[in-house]
């Protein structure tokens, strides 16, 4: 699965995109974040406050309970600041 990071999620983790093979117990967005949190200090810092994290699954806004089966692309980022 392709994972993308933006804003301070990206700068904390130190990369903008990566391909990850998810272990079978990762079924939804929350599981994914729990899994990523254990991948290193940058990940832990990025996902320290899960309330500040927004998520898009296959480029549609999603939430922590959104299932990931069949999804190709998950993006994790801070609240958007467009305009």
């Amino acid at each position: 699965m392709r994972i993308l990071y933006f804003g301070w999620v990206r700068t904390n983790i130190g990369l903008g995109t990566e391909e990850i093979s998810l272990p079978p117990h990762v079924e939804n967005v929350e599981d994914l974040i729990e899994f990523l949190r254990d991948q290193g200090d940058g990940y832990r810092a990025a996902f320290e406050n899960i309330k500040a994290i927004r998520v898009a699954v296959d480029q549609e806004m999603a939430d922590m309970a959104t299932p990931l089966n069949g999804s190709k692309e998950v993006a994790l980022f801070p609240p958007m600041t467009g305009g």
């Binding site: 933006f6 301070w8 480029q59 801070p78 609240p79 467009g82 305009g83």
Partner: protein, 149 residues
């Protein structure tokens, strides 16, 4: 129409193009967002806009469609830039054209309110003390939420 680009835009030319195209247009509303030279705390030397290519276009297209559904519009243009910008540079342009002024004005405000909180852009400001990611503002959420039907 929507455009996501690194390059600057000519707001006057875009407005002229829209108002000249169609004699049914009675009102053209527009909004330009610009990089300020300072915020409440500090001087700003540069602003970098990161975005999510692909999703950005989808979101902007969806906002245009929603505006056209909610108001009677002859034309809509959204241009949003990304990349590194300096104070005084243009970030975003919204133009809406309608037979009726109220539709043009309301939809223009709707689009810019929604872009603030609903389009996948993230702003980083450079200041003399270092650079930081701009935090989303509670007032922007409020402004965006008033458009929920």
């Amino acid at each position: 129409m929507i455009r996501v680009q690194k390059e600057d835009f000519d707001a006057g030319q875009e407005i002229r193009g829209i108002s000249a195209k169609n004699v049914e247009v009675g009102g053209v509303a527009s909004f330009i967002g610009l990089v300020r030279g300072a915020n409440e705390e500090s001087q700003i030397t540069a602003m970098t806009l990161e975005h999510y290519p692909g999703m950005t276009e989808k979101i902007l297209f969806g906002l245009e469609s929603e505006a056209r559904t909610r108001w009677q519009l002859e034309d809509v243009l959204i241009i949003h830039r990304y990349g590194e910008l300096t104070p005084g540079e243009q970030i975003v342009l919204v133009i809406t054209a309608s037979a009726h002024r109220e539709d043009a004005l309301q939809s223009c405000q709707f689009l810019i309110d929604r872009l603030k909180t609903g389009a996948p852009f993230w702003k980083k400001e450079d200041t003399p003390a270092g650079s930081h990611w701009v935090e989303s503002k509670a007032e922007d959420d409020t402004a965006s939420e008033r458009w929920l039907k």
